[in-house]
């Protein structure tokens, strides 16, 4: 965390290699959040680029006293993801119109690029399919807690909601996801 703060300071002084270092350190995390939220590799790449562009432009507004750089970056990512979700809401098919989960899943898997398919394990695919069924509030809570393994306080900082709401969303998200997996005939062990 201290190293991140130092790198940010160096970036603000115009050090390009410090920014490169920051990009290398955080790309995977940001990409993973975007991928888990959207379930699409190309969208995740575009969103990750947008996140870093926004972070680069607003780097001066980061204050290390208010929390870690990673948390700040996660909240920027989350805000962009929500914006993206709202922007693309019309384009998406509503859940009621979707076919059976298995059909949807097979469509998704065939639409994915081969490198994405190789990356996702069987469990990863099932998790991705179940995550997509969750509402954005529950989805982001589960991603941050169970996939990014953030602490409750960090999630609270990212989502800007009270701790009780964070806990409730995580709990509801898990239960809903478990029920979706049960419907899919998957029994996580």
């Amino acid at each position: 965390m201290e190293q991140d703060a130092q790198l940010v300071q160096q970036c603000l002084q115009g050090n390009g290699s410090a920014w490169e270092e920051l990009v290398h350190r955080h790309t995977r995390r940001v990409y993973n959040i975007c991928y888990r939220f959207t379930g699409n590799g190309t969208e995740a790449e575009d969103l990750a680029q947008e996140v870093f562009l926004r972070v680069y432009r607003t780097l001066g507004s980061y204050r290390s006293a208010h929390g870690g750089f990673a948390t700040w970056m996660t909240s920027v990512t989350r805000n962009l993801l929500i914006d993206h979700y709202r922007r693309t809401k019309r384009d998406r098919v509503t859940d009621s119109l979707e076919d059976a989960i298995t059909v949807v899943e097979s469509k998704e898997s065939s639409a994915r690029r081969p490198d994405e398919q190789a990356l996702l394990s069987e469990l990863g695919r099932q998790v991705q399919a179940a995550l997509k069924k969750l509402s954005p509030e529950l989805r982001e809570a589960v991603i941050l807690r169970d996939l990014q393994q953030l602490e409750y306080a960090e999630i609270q900082q990212v989502l800007q909601v009270p701790e009780g709401t964070v806990k409730s969303r995580i709990n509801r998200g898990r239960i809903e996801m478990a029920r979706i997996l049960q419907q899919m005939g998957v029994r996580p062990s």
Binding site: W19, R28, F52, G124, D146, I175
Partner: protein, 227 residues
């Protein structure tokens, strides 16, 4: 205190994370043990959470970092003039390039030598594709002929060796092995047809040195008794 299924659902994550008070933990477990609806839900959520925690992070596409850097820092400035030439030459001053160049050179030398290129008196005409093809074709046929001759020679040597070993094996056959029973001779009938004449001849050859040794011994014995 008896918990309801709604309470179980509401505090499921707290139970899984061990955040409940001991009394609540016990009440939770007691309800789950007897409730046919809550038990599978709890075990599924438990499995899901551990599965999610165990999922490894996905690797980002390699181009993503460069795309981000291009978008934020701008495209990398390309050198011009003598700097560009220097940067171009610097690319060759690497061990990787040196190994590559060395292996390519070695391959070219081997191929040219195999195609019959004369290194002592090199001529430009020898590098013409048609000449190279002809030379390679000739070399190929030559190698094939040499190989065939070598295999043939090997066969001859092998045959000679096998004959020799066969002969020596018969000569040094152990005495302990009983000879095959001779067919009973009938009056007026000759021996069985000679199927292995040379073997009998060899046996006779083997007997000859033994006879000579016996003769010399006999002479010694005779000399002793004479006086």
């Amino acid at each position: 205190m008896n918990w309801t299924c709604e309470q179980i659902e509401a505090r499921l994550s707290e139970y899984l994370e061990g955040a409940l008070a001991p009394a609540d933990q016990q009440a939770f477990a007691a309800h789950v043990q007897q409730c046919p609806q809550c038990a599978p839900l709890v075990s599924t959520v438990q499995g899901l959470v551990s599965g999610l925690h165990g999922l490894p992070p996905l690797a980002e596409p390699p181009r993503l970092v460069y795309a981000i850097l291009d978008k934020t820092l701008g495209p990398r400035q390309t050198a011009r003039g003598w700097r560009a030439a220097l940067a171009f030459l610097r690319g060759f001053a690497t061990m990787r390039f040196a190994y590559g160049a060395l292996s390519v050179t070695a391959t070219v030398i081997v191929l040219l030598t195999a195609s019959g290129f004369n290194w002592k008196h090199p001529r430009a005409a020898d590098l013409h594709p048609v000449n190279l093809y002809r030379a390679a074709n000739r070399q190929g046929h030559l190698i094939y002929a040499r190989g065939a001759k070598f295999v043939s020679d090997l066969r001859v040597v092998y045959e000679i060796q096998s004959r020799l070993s066969q002969d020596s094996g018969i000569r040094t056959a152990p005495e302990s092995t009983p000879p095959p029973p001779a067919p009973e001779k009938q009056p007026g009938m000759t021996n069985a047809p000679r199927q292995n004449g040379p073997r009998q001849q060899n046996r006779a050859n083997g007997i000859r040195p033994e006879l000579s040794v016996l003769a010399s011994d006999l002479a010694v014995l005779c000399n002793r008794r004479l006086p």
